[in-house]
């Protein structure tokens, strides 16, 4: 995709233990265009967080090992950059919002200091201009009395406010892309709704893209333009969000959607996918989903499946799937 802001190609990230090789990300490709919100969705251990961290080269190597692939951002392969050049990208052109704001914020520095630092690390700014920018950022993300909040320490804020501060830090240098790794998982649902609204709001009308990592299909449906479904380190389905939700093609996606409890399903037995997610060090041969798949045939155990194109950007990695 030539107009992609970010293009991840055949990425492989492995973790080497003494006797084991965990293939956490096992050949994925995805693209993000300017202004889009793309979700990587999957259950624990599917490799979505490792993929996101690899884009910013935040995986410690060793024990991690980027075994293959490219991460092309604005035409440049980030995997080939020197660390000093990578530091100019992090926080500046690509910013990240993590899951747990309490552990991501430094407890001994004020909010003002931390947001300020996010700016001064990349730009030379006069102190009074810096202060104004910090106040404006806090206003933009909906924190009341921002002038007073600058002197607060992280522990004085609530979880929702801390996550807003994380978002402010991410926005500080007007990045082209924000990667958000489960930013609302640790928050209460009414606070989550505020943060999701905020993320929609900051993107509105702009060219900023968001890569949103989550396990929550409800969140995906709410904010994603396009979605990539991951399982055991590979992408099993991708497409426009309404298309994937209304017409899931891969048995795993179908199973996931059918297993969501809701009031409207009351009285019907929930579909449940038997078995459990495989250990990345001991993946099944062929299609990694075959041990749990009701449609599996003999070739599924030996041949790694290719993507099937269903048109309009909707792809699924299953040759057996029923239409």
């Amino acid at each position: 995709m030539n107009d992609a802001l970010l293009s991840v190609q055949d990425l492989r990230v492995y973790f080497r233990g003494r006797d084991t090789l965990a293939r956490a990300v096992d050949g994925i490709r995805f693209d993000i265009r300017p202004g889009e919100t793309v979700c990587l969705v999957g259950e624990s251990g599917c490799g979505k967080t490792v993929s996101a961290l690899t884009v910013l080269r935040l995986i410690p190597c060793p024990p991690g090992d980027i075994a293959g692939g490219k991460v092309i951002f604005k035409g440049i392969n980030l995997l080939g950059l020197k660390e000093t050049d990578m530091q100019k990208v992090r926080g500046n052109q690509i910013a990240m919002v993590f899951q747990e704001p309490l552990t991501s914020l430094n407890p001994v520095f004020t909010i003002g200091d931390q947001i300020g630092e996010a700016i001064t690390v990349h730009e030379a700014v006069e102190p009074d201009v810096l202060r104004e920018r910090c106040i404006q950022l806090l206003k933009d993300i909906g924190i009341p009395s921002p002038e007073h909040r600058l002197k607060d320490y992280p522990h004085q804020l609530s979880g929702g406010q801390r996550q807003r501060v994380m978002i402010a830090m991410a926005l500080a240098c007007n990045p082209d892309l924000i990667i958000a790794d489960e930013p609302t998982t640790a928050l209460d649902v009414t606070v989550q709704a505020q943060i999701l609204n905020l993320m929609r709001f900051i993107q509105d009308g702009g060219a900023m893209s968001v890569l949103y990592i989550t396990h929550d299909l409800g969140v995906v449906a709410n904010i994603a333009d396009r979605v990539y479904v991951m399982y055991a380190g590979i992408i099993v389905e991708q497409g426009d969000t309404p298309e994937v939700f209304h017409n899931p093609r891969h048995p795993y996606t179908q199973g996931l959607l059918a297993s969501l409890p809701s009031r409207s399903r009351r009285g019907d037995r929930l579909h449940s996918i038997p078995g459990a997610v495989p250990n990345p060090a001991y993946k099944p041969s062929g299609c990694p989903f075959h041990p749990r798949c009701s449609l599996a045939v003999a070739t599924c155990t030996t041949r790694f499946p290719e993507m099937v194109d269903h048109g309009r950007g909707h792809l699924s990695r299953c040759p057996v799937t029923r239409a």
């Binding site: 649902v189 606070v191 299909l217 409800g218 297993s259």
Partner: protein
């Protein structure tokens, strides 16, 4: 009247906050501040709320793991509020609990067989009878009897949760309190455990108090729902009624904040402002005053009662109740 397995009336639990060198009581955390509900035989009451609302404290007080500061607990028609420890001992068989954390709630030094048999030791069974029951319980929760000699760390989260359920069932309870039993599990495993809980309820006529912050799960499993906020029930209704016609502003906000896996169903309602407050020394009047979009002077002055607004439907809001 044995149709009601558990009746809770006016339950209160306050925790003192002690400050200073002399540990003087500086304030009270009113964790549970006047809770009343009833659970019928074979039915599920969903207790839903965000962090700090007191729902887990309610569970512990019902089981007399914490002593209530006020209120009445009636189990199968018998007043159990002031029973001595010895008198409670026999009743404890009848009220069991499944915890949230499948990793923390099983003793890592006991095999799962030993964990399940532990409750049976108080009963007059021979060793063979105990082991036979243990095997039957394992099969009932979908685990093989051959796994009895394994340790918890050898199992996945979902499997450990099944062990927790088997342990709860081992002593033939009538009431099981499920305290966020599926929150720590992946979506596909959640469905397995939810199905299991439903099947067991159908087969054994169990009553459940299902505590969760997840409205989708609560809506699926519960017959009736109580919405908690800062230690009080804000709305109490049959599940259908609450989801179709929520009347309390908090219930409405909570329901509209839950993202559903329905792309395009963007939240039209504004999310609730503010943050989930602390139960420490709340101001007089309605507990919800700080975040309620309809708050008035009267809301800040007087304690608000639960008003009946329909069949089996009660709402803690004078504006709703008096209209």
């Amino acid at each position: 009247m044995n149709r009601i397995t558990l009746r809770v009336e006016g339950l209160k639990k306050y925790f003192p906050v002690q400050r200073g060198f002399f540990q003087r009581v500086a304030g009270w955390v009113k964790a549970v501040d006047g809770i009343s509900f009833a659970i019928e035989k074979g039915k599920t009451l969903g207790l839903v709320g965000e962090s700090g609302c007191g729902k887990s404290t309610v569970a512990r007080v019902i089981l007399r793991l914490l002593e209530p500061d006020a209120g009445k607990l009636t189990y199968k028609g018998q007043d159990i509020t002031f029973l001595s420890r010895r008198e409670m001992k026999d009743l404890r068989r009848e009220m069991q609990i499944v915890f949230q954390d499948p990793f923390g709630s099983l003793n890592p030094r006991m095999t799962i067989g030993q964990t399940i048999e532990e409750g049976l030791r108080g009963m007059s069974l021979s060793k063979e009878e105990r082991q036979e029951r243990r095997d039957r319980l394992l099969e009932m929760v979908g685990l093989s009897a051959a796994t009895a000699d394994r340790y918890p760390h050898e199992f996945s989260g979902g499997q450990r949760q099944r062990v927790g359920v088997a342990r709860a069932l081992s002593v033939d309870p009538s009431l099981i309190i499920c305290d966020e039993p599926v929150s720590a599990l992946d979506v596909s495993i959640q469905a397995q455990i939810i199905n299991l809980l439903e099947d067991l309820q159908d087969r054994l006529g169990l009553s459940y108090l299902f505590i969760s912050h997840d409205l989708n799960v609560v809506g699926y499993l519960s017959d009736r729902v109580a919405v908690m906020y800062l230690g009080q029930i804000m709305e109490y209704a049959e599940t259908e009624t609450l989801f179709e016609n929520p009347l309390h502003p908090y219930s409405m906000a909570l329901l509209s904040a839950v993202p559903t896996a329905e792309p395009g169903a963007m939240r039209k309602l504004k999310p609730l402002g503010g943050d989930v407050p602390s139960p420490l020394d709340p101001p007089p009047g309605c507990k919800f005053q700080a975040r309620c979009p309809h708050v008035e002077a009267r809301c800040r002055k007087e304690a608000i009662d639960l008003y009946p607004v329909g069949r089996n439907h009660r709402v803690r809001c004078w504006k709703v109740g008096e209209s």
